[in-house]
């Protein structure tokens, strides 16, 4: 067993995993907010389209979605790099869950807050930006934290579309060096440490967002 070979290889894979996680999270975050708000829109057609998206991406396998973006889209002339296909697929997949988090958190802001905004003559968009969304944010962060860690683990799927992530690095090492137990244990430890770090990051974010809602009226 040769740690000086294993560790650099795994570390390199871990960086790719981290990159994929953060890029997918950025896509998922934007999708979550946009789709979550569109689901609450006044316009029925927009609401319907957003619901269809959510149902499709929640209701089908993430792995198959990934294969779709990587293997099927090129047939229609859309050629994505492995990382681009992976980030888009995971971003859209997790965005469908995230949009439900956003929707629920926004719906949970007490009615009195909307009414105060009307009484102060805020236009709807401004009320959402200044009053409703900032309060909903506090409720979104814990479930977003869970999704982020799920996303980290889900990036291991990317090893199946030729991306050299942590899982891929582990698999390659096992193929070339053996030591199945040692290597896969190390891979688990790497994932675990990264999950721990992301968890801490989210906790820090939660502390910076005021806890909202207390005394907000109904």
């Amino acid at each position: 067993m040769n740690l000086t070979v294993f560790l650099p290889a795994l570390l390199k894979g871990a960086l790719v995993t981290l990159e994929a996680t953060l890029l997918s999270a950025a896509v998922a975050l934007v999708v979550s907010v946009v789709v979550g708000l569109v689901r609450l829109s006044r316009f029925r057609l927009l609401r319907g389209a957003a619901l269809v998206y959510v149902e499709i991406f929640r209701g089908t396998s993430a792995l198959v979605q990934l294969f779709y973006f990587f293997f099927v889209l090129p047939i229609f002339g859309i050629d994505l790099s492995p990382m681009a296909a992976g980030v888009i697929a995971l971003g859209l997949n997790f965005g469908s869950y995230g949009s439900e988090v956003v929707r629920a958190a926004v719906l949970n802001v007490p009615r009195g807050q909307h009414e105060a905004a009307v009484a102060l003559n805020y236009p709807p968009g401004l009320a959402m930006r200044r009053i409703i969304f900032p309060q909903a944010l506090a409720a979104m962060l814990p479930p977003f934290g869970n999704l982020l860690i799920d996303l980290l683990k889900a990036t291991s799927l990317l090893s199946l579309i030729t991306i050299g992530d942590l899982t891929f690095a582990g698999k390659s090492l096992v193929q070339s060096q053996g030591h199945v137990t040692a290597i896969y244990t190390l891979v688990l430890v790497f994932y675990f440490v990264m999950a721990l770090m992301l968890g801490r990051l989210m906790q820090a974010a939660e502390r910076r967002v005021p806890g909202a809602t207390a005394g907000g009226g109904r």
Partner: protein
């Protein structure tokens, strides 16, 4: 528009409202003159809150119209039909109305000062400096100059309600609606909030619609009293007359019950 000094500042014509099958307001006709301070009294469920909420556009009437200084509120005339209004016109009319709620409804993520400044800056387009100066004046007026940076949850109920009054005033409405603004407060905090409204009444001559169960306060602050029951305005008169010599037996019975409790 607004030129005729005799034009009522608020006019409700045949306004009805139901929740499901239950009719709450039954064809309310009401003209309010500028400077009137109207106390709305009546038994629980008589429709007092609903009336205020309609004027604030928090509810839509299924029948009738509401006009502010001669302009339709929440409705727009298209040909000879009335359609729901939104956008700039709605806001130009609604901006003349402000409301203070029973449960304050302060924004919990903003300090007292930010609660008061946010609307003036983002809705009315004042500069931050102007809005801050004005907000600090208003905080001083409600006796909370030293609480500018407190979050709502760090304030007592009475203090929160005083901030809420300052917040509504910062938008410079012409008509203020108060819906039982002291009924969520501990008894010892009621006085400080009523004192603010009393002062406002005597200093500004602002038009007010005040829903209250505090009959002493109603009698003292209002210059017109409406008694509501079952979705109707049953009695409408000066405080002396309504409290001292009610015309309707129903008003008499209600006042008898609340005053001699």
């Amino acid at each position: 528009m607004g030129a005729d000094p005799r034009q009522p500042i608020l006019r409700m014509q045949g306004v009805s409202k139901s929740y499901g099958a239950v009719q709450i307001l039954r064809g309310i006709d009401l003209d309010v003159e500028a400077g009137q301070r109207i106390a709305l009294i009546g038994p629980s469920g008589s429709g007092k809150t609903t009336l205020l909420r309609l004027v604030m556009t928090l509810e839509t009437p299924e029948d009738g119209t509401i006009e502010v200084e001669g302009e339709l509120l929440g409705l727009r005339r298209v040909g000879d039909r009335l359609v729901k209004d939104s956008g700039a016109h709605l806001r130009s009319v609604r901006g003349k109305i402000g409301m203070v709620f029973q449960h304050f409804n302060l924004f919990p993520h903003m300090s007292a000062l930010q609660n008061i400044m946010d609307g003036p800056v983002h809705v009315r387009g004042l500069s931050k400096d102007q809005a801050r100066e004005r907000a600090l004046d208003l905080l001083a007026k409600v006796g909370l100059r030293n609480k500018a940076d407190s979050l709502p949850r760090q304030l007592s109920g009475g203090q929160q309600q005083r901030v809420a009054i300052a917040r509504a005033l910062a938008m410079e409405p012409k008509i203020m609606l108060f819906d039982e603004i002291t009924s969520a407060l501990d008894p010892e905090l009621v006085g400080e909030v009523l004192a603010i409204v009393r002062e406002l009444a005597h200093e500004t001559g602002m038009t007010m619609l005040i829903v209250t169960h505090e009959m002493g306060f109603a009698r003292e602050v209002a210059n017109r009293v409406l008694f509501m029951e079952g979705g109707h305005i049953v009695e409408d008169g000066e405080p002396e007359q309504v409290f001292g010599n009610p015309r309707s037996d129903r008003t008499k019975a209600f006042l008898g019950a609340v005053l001699h409790r």
